[in-house]
């Protein structure tokens, strides 16, 4: 197969996959299934954007906090200032990115576990602020009755309303595809290469003359931008947001998706978020025993798939070879 053929078939496959994703609501009538897929798409955006931050060697636990920023920004803009939800969406992302920019330069001086913990504290401070500032945020009661997205009107052509989950599914699907495309482009660009080199040899790249902190802050900002966007989407989809909607464990789970999926490959967080979002739905019947199974899955994955779920096939091949070629 020649190179162009390979490219063509790759394009064909991706095209097919996207077509499949778009046709799901035609096949699946169940709103519950769509809800789970919406959550999965949300988590894919979160985990993938977190991976961008992580690729500069910084493990951020502030993604939940950034979602809170995004969710509140968009909800308050829409409800208090009457701004269109479509304008609020990017503004929510920008608000999160702005905060990331503000704290970014001092933060990236802090390394390793300390950085991770500082982001935990940042997220906690965001929550506390939302609880404390009652006049603006409504305190711990949160914001309720957040309106769904405004109708998407192309004058003279169509007007799309958001009455059911199907519309939200297309909304998040488009958002997810755009995000992934963007993140992929970044990874392939000079920024991505720089980030990876920063991660691998922090000292070396500094001596080569790359301003590492600028790139780290950039990665942090972009990652937080998408967290803010998802926060905005979440508030419009669920209609309710409280300061503790995205608590410590919410941020932790995004990290779990990313690492269990596999941090080394672009597709890792995608697999991780998808599988780990839908998996708990299969074990619902176990009720209070669900966490055992979920925890078991996480641990097995970490023990046997050091490079993540994405590596499952390669590891299996290796195991298979060992097992049967020796005999």
């Amino acid at each position: 197969m020649s190179l162009s053929d390979k490219k063509k078939s790759k394009g064909l496959r991706y095209g097919g996959a996207i077509l499949f994703l778009f046709s799901i609501p035609l096949i699946v009538r169940g709103q519950y299934t769509l809800h789970i897929l919406i959550m999965a798409a949300m988590n894919i955006i979160l985990a993938s954007s977190l991976r961008l931050v992580a690729s500069s060697g910084q493990l951020s636990m502030a993604h939940g906090g950034m979602m809170t920023i995004g969710a509140y920004t968009s909800a308050l803009l829409v409800m208090k200032l009457g701004i269109s939800s479509w304008a609020a969406l990017p503004l929510a992302g920008l608000a999160a990115a702005a905060l990331a920019l503000l704290v970014g330069f001092p933060f990236v001086r802090i390394k390793g576990i300390y950085f991770a913990m500082v982001t935990v504290f940042l997220a906690e401070m965001i929550t506390l602020t939302a609880e404390h500032w009652r006049s603006l945020t409504g305190g711990s009661s949160g914001v309720v009755n957040i309106p769904p997205p405004d109708p998407l009107v192309i004058p003279g052509l169509i007007s799309i309303d958001f009455p059911t989950k199907t519309e939200f599914y297309y909304f998040i699907l488009v958002l997810m595809l755009v995000t992934l495309l963007f993140l992929y482009a970044i990874e392939r660009s000079r920024i991505g290469l720089t980030l990876i080199s920063i991660q691998q040899t922090e000292l070396l790249s500094e001596s080569v003359g790359v301003n590492t902190s600028r790139f780290k802050v950039l990665a942090f900002c972009i990652g937080c931008f998408f967290a803010g966007i998802v926060g905005s989407f979440y508030s419009q989809y669920i209609n309710v947001i409280t300061p503790r909607s995205f608590e410590f464990f919410f941020a932790i789970y995004i990290i779990v998706y990313m690492i269990v999926g596999g941090i080394k490959k672009f597709s890792g967080p995608i697999y991780g978020a998808f599988i780990l979002t839908i998996f708990p739905e299969f074990i619902r019947a176990l009720k209070e025993f669900q966490p055992f199974i979920f925890a078991g899955l996480l641990m097995l994955a970490i023990f046997f798939l050091p490079d993540g779920l994405v590596d499952l096939r390669r590891q299996w091949d290796k195991f298979y070879e060992k097992r049967f070629n020796r005999a």
Partner: protein
Amino acid sequence: MNKIKLGFFVVLGFMFVITVSQNTYAQEAKTLKIGAVFALTGPAAAGIKDCMDGVQAAADWINKKGGITVKGQQYLIEVVPEDNKSAPDGIVAAANKLVYKDEVKFIVGPVVPGLSMAMTPITEKAKVLRCKVNGTGNKAEMKPGMLYTFSTFMEIQYVRSVYDYFVKSYPNAKKIAITGPDEPGGQAMVAVAKKEAEAHGLKVVFSELYPFGTQDFYPMLTKAMAQKPDVFDLGVGIAPWYAGIIKQARELGFTGPMFAPSATGNIYLIPMLAGKDFSYDIFFLDADLKSPKMPSIVKEARQQVSNKFGVDLTFGHGAGWESLWCLVQAIEAAQSLDTIKVAKVWEKMKSIETLYGEGTMSGLKDFGINHVVLKPRPLSRLEKGEIEFIKFISP
């Protein structure tokens, strides 16, 4: 390799799609599925698992008595239990599953107001009738337009009666300190309590909301004690919080009365957690369910719970029990399984049976919608670490 990866992805996707979409159990003619959403895992599970057991026990009890009869057709209740994982996204997933996958038309639960709020948009949109357990009375929990959301009771409706009782029993008390947890319910309760305290001639010298899950109340109590209050209103809460405040306030030298116009979840825990020596001059809207003064229906419920789960009836069991029972009474009164009809009949019901006696529908005055069961509730005192039942009070 990519092909296989993609194949894996697609197969997984299909597997998932098929499993979740293809489970419409063939509905037996005589089964009525009722969803129950409570925290079974996560931090809220601690106090609330009892509610789920209470719902199950009530379902058995109702089924044993012949289930629900609607227009001559007999239905047996099948409870579909779901875990809300103590988190907003957990309850949204659970609600979507119950509404769209199990296609239940009736749901009971949850308890925590914040979680209830996250669920309301889904059930309202799908016209699923939901009877939530407990509730304090935050405006977001219950308001006009929530056509399909009912509640077995709202704490704020009882605040006045409790203050009436208090002022009568402690005519010398002048200064009051009011506290409560910082969550939607706690906020609503403190606001109402402040108003009632003033209406009853008490001076509110201190009021503060403590963060959810506080263990050490010394800082808050130090501040409160500096105002030299005669009495503490503990607002809404769960047993460990109440017990923590009681123990620590007593340690700091407060000897006056303390009360909450609310239930504790499990009153037996209070003397256990706070220490018997500190458990005096305290009263709650809660009951010693083992007391012989309890109505016969409580005894039945106690029997049922202990048969099924081998434990003693708690207030949590009772709350779960009542939510299902009230819902069932509404369905029978409406003689229909159509949620619109049931809702319309329910809000006009003059009489509805509860564990502690006959109740009625209310809420128009407080919430603008007649969706709350108003019923007698037990008032109990703690004295020398012992629980003693005083009387049933109605607003």
